[in-house]
Symmetry: D2
Subunit: 310 residues, 4 copies
Amino acid sequence: MTTTIDAPPLGPMLDDIVRSHRPPREAGSVPANIPSLAAVPFSRFGIAVATAAGEIFTSGDADVPFSIQSISKVFTLAMALRRDSSGALWSRVLREPSGSAFNSLVQLEVEHGIPRNPFINAGALVVTDRLMEETPDAATAVLRFLTGQTGEPGPFIDEAAAVSELSNSSRNLALAHFLKDFGNLRQSAEAVVENYVRQCSIMMTCAELAKAGLFLAREGRGTSGTVVSRSEAKRIGSIMLTCGMYDAAGEFAYRVGLPGKSGVGGGILVIVPGHCAISVWSPRLDAKGNSLAGSAALADLSDRTGWSVF
Amino acid sequence: MTTTIDAPPLGPMLDDIVRSHRPPREAGSVPANIPSLAAVPFSRFGIAVATAAGEIFTSGDADVPFSIQSISKVFTLAMALRRDSSGALWSRVLREPSGSAFNSLVQLEVEHGIPRNPFINAGALVVTDRLMEETPDAATAVLRFLTGQTGEPGPFIDEAAAVSELSNSSRNLALAHFLKDFGNLRQSAEAVVENYVRQCSIMMTCAELAKAGLFLAREGRGTSGTVVSRSEAKRIGSIMLTCGMYDAAGEFAYRVGLPGKSGVGGGILVIVPGHCAISVWSPRLDAKGNSLAGSAALADLSDRTGWSVF
Amino acid sequence: MTTTIDAPPLGPMLDDIVRSHRPPREAGSVPANIPSLAAVPFSRFGIAVATAAGEIFTSGDADVPFSIQSISKVFTLAMALRRDSSGALWSRVLREPSGSAFNSLVQLEVEHGIPRNPFINAGALVVTDRLMEETPDAATAVLRFLTGQTGEPGPFIDEAAAVSELSNSSRNLALAHFLKDFGNLRQSAEAVVENYVRQCSIMMTCAELAKAGLFLAREGRGTSGTVVSRSEAKRIGSIMLTCGMYDAAGEFAYRVGLPGKSGVGGGILVIVPGHCAISVWSPRLDAKGNSLAGSAALADLSDRTGWSVF
Amino acid sequence: MTTTIDAPPLGPMLDDIVRSHRPPREAGSVPANIPSLAAVPFSRFGIAVATAAGEIFTSGDADVPFSIQSISKVFTLAMALRRDSSGALWSRVLREPSGSAFNSLVQLEVEHGIPRNPFINAGALVVTDRLMEETPDAATAVLRFLTGQTGEPGPFIDEAAAVSELSNSSRNLALAHFLKDFGNLRQSAEAVVENYVRQCSIMMTCAELAKAGLFLAREGRGTSGTVVSRSEAKRIGSIMLTCGMYDAAGEFAYRVGLPGKSGVGGGILVIVPGHCAISVWSPRLDAKGNSLAGSAALADLSDRTGWSVF
């Protein structure tokens, strides 16, 4: 399906969205277990749109690096899929919505160690474990991939934040040992969690993140060649739409109508298939762990532009 | 977003899909608790595409009536939403994927009687209860709605099948009494289940079903005027995509990439936003309760046409 | 094992327990779904001890009838067991603690319609269904059994309360239809719930209840002959100890150390094997659904007398 | 309650029980994750009774050391309780039956990191963590305690087996990290699991185990003074009865009627309050993880002697 979008005057529109959605006061919350995130001023708000045609529009704090956290799961999934010609990954992780909090152990137990999808923490640990089979330092490989896509040396791993987060990683260690118990990890639980935490600690700006995600809006074609096949790009989009926003995937599909992936750092990456990648960032989170101002801004942008897959 | 589709020669393509996917032998299963469905020959296979432009393409057993079963949930949702200007329905049912079998009581208990979405049985019972507030004979109202959309007197309630299914409705009665216990039903549990079973026993052909669902592909505009608002049409599409295929919604989004709703009668209704409504029917089901041949045919059609929202 | 108890001066001790434990003010709660229970004055407190030797000691409101509610499950179990020479009942209900709230549907679903034990509501419905195989009016048969054991015409069914409770029985109807769906009820769900509610609405005094339960302290021998075998009497005791106090069975075993069964009418029946049956009644309940003052009084009595199976 | 037991001729009876219950062929299973247990011959069967009067009766392989595994939880609980004058331990672990498999993470999540009882693995890890607050090498302290109670230097830690088991401890590590995540471990997850595995690897004979458990039959009085108070001894008994046999506690209470604690090494420790401690050992397990021949032998012994708390 080719799509023709009545090009809105994007620059001014993004400026207006920043004016409307930048938080005037502290609201929502920050994750208790990641100290570095608590230090970010509540009023931060950035947005960027990278179009298939190669343009980039930004506004607000679009050049301030933030911790991408779970948004990294989109990129590790893409990296694992292009190595996974046999489809073996899909025997280790499902593609179904999880229907409960993002780090729940319950469903993992009921389904015998096969995570529901690659975007819940358990599934992301399996994907990272898969990457480590070829590249023990998977987090650095992810960083290199992102740098390649953005065409700039901007992204970096906040190693101090990673060390700090790692010392608060009991839940992820529990998940990893549990996966190991079910025979669904090849590497040691500790090594997988370390790589996972480091990939989550990658710092990027909105502008960089939109550029890095653009291949998903361009049928898999990145800035320097094919990242994943057209078919895989569509499929990553479907997983983002059904599973990308923790336990608010349905609500986000309902309000915004676009594939998205959020992180507890307050970032959200959204794909308009065939047209553009959007990133938004504001640090304070709603009860489901998604950026409060970011979600609202995306709903607003979807209403203004008509962008929706439905 | 407007969409331009390189019109495929749909007629021959549908004929070829019928040739490829009509089951040559008995496979899959039929639901144990609905005797009337077991009598349908396994080789039945029909497909129909109703375009936004008003054309209708059909092939195979597209004119044989079948039991729409859970596909009725799409229409009752649309009917309830256009009466629900206040949004009160959404305080009684969520819009999140369920992450478990379609008739599970567990999540209902954990979430205190608020079903995860309108397409699991518990949620559909709440929607039917809502319709009954204005029209006690809700099933007949659904039938009238469908007749209106198809522009033909074809659809009918198989009352004998409904009576038979009603005598095997222990699970739905359990759900209804459970909802009642949580204060989330206004009518009696027995009356709601009776209306629900009768709406599920509506018989339609593929051709009629595609026409009846066309308003969802046309931003809410049906054959004789607006059915739901553009915004509500999109939102029903998002619920179909995330919740429409029981516990295989993710897999269907991944393989087909289009909003769909299946029924245990073997029918599936699929929406290509802005372009067409597709219905397919073949009675034998996979382990998740979706038409085996129908799902395969839709994946094939999606591959051939490029139709996908991603 | 024969037990020799240093006979305490029971009469004065019970008087002292009434003085210490009769509630001076309204505390705890009453069940929301059984209107007749809400009308009982909070200060009611009665206690009775029926000894194996045939004595009966009472104090406080021991002659005021109250609704035995779930205590009836002990008697229906005994009645079902003496008809169940083949042990077939134990293929329909387990004997394990439930580990969650007494009316949870979750475990029932996970364990495919086999209730964890005969004292959770689902299990009790199966037991009542079993009794109805021989006596359709099972509730009246239970009443007749109790009258026989007490040797007095005192016990009666509060039919008005039963009718009222029946109109608030959505949860039990849900359980019964769910059991029916799993093939674990022979009679209609509605008929089983009606009998169950009527058996729960039996009114007895503490004095009558202690006498009726005495056969469990006398190795199965009731006032006019054997009720159940010695072996079955011990086994009912073991089920009472592990499952008799809803989700506080462990706590009760820890504090009191005796087999007990409580009801939401505020009554508790306790067995001192080989020695006596104790009943206590006070209407206000703790968070687990057990009599607040009754539990405290039994812990006190156990401390004073040294009565404990451990 | 004082108990008078018609002394059976225990020696010959135990010999007869060995003859009847020593497994003639391989049946049941051994735990997959503990290699050292798989090497034990299936025909091993030992039994010992230590009486309150100081006698010890044994038969079969009663002098062959075996791995006590989870039976160690009884002793760590006793050790923790005598240090826990404030009752603080009971805010970190409940006393209710778990109602599901012994190492389930589900209930732990639902109940926010508070294990259901001290005998499921999660609860035992909390108890070991509590012991480590005073004695970092808790396992050696447990060994010293057992040596003290038996009055012999017999018990020892099979350190090679512990190392081997530790390398297969993913499930316990998952539990420990999960507890840590909920703030319910003070020491590191790894250190607690190491101590736990070492305490489980303690090797004892039936004769030693019966002697070591005797304090629970003697109101807390051990061989060289009070171990726990009379009240705590009774309470440990109540926890054994309701929670001591994994998910077969109800079945064991029903068949045997005595407080017991089993281990996957095939041992079971049983208490006859006021009279004796019984230990039995045979390595092959039933589906619930309890010694197949051991359980049968205890049911037989209970029937022959009349020993039962009910």
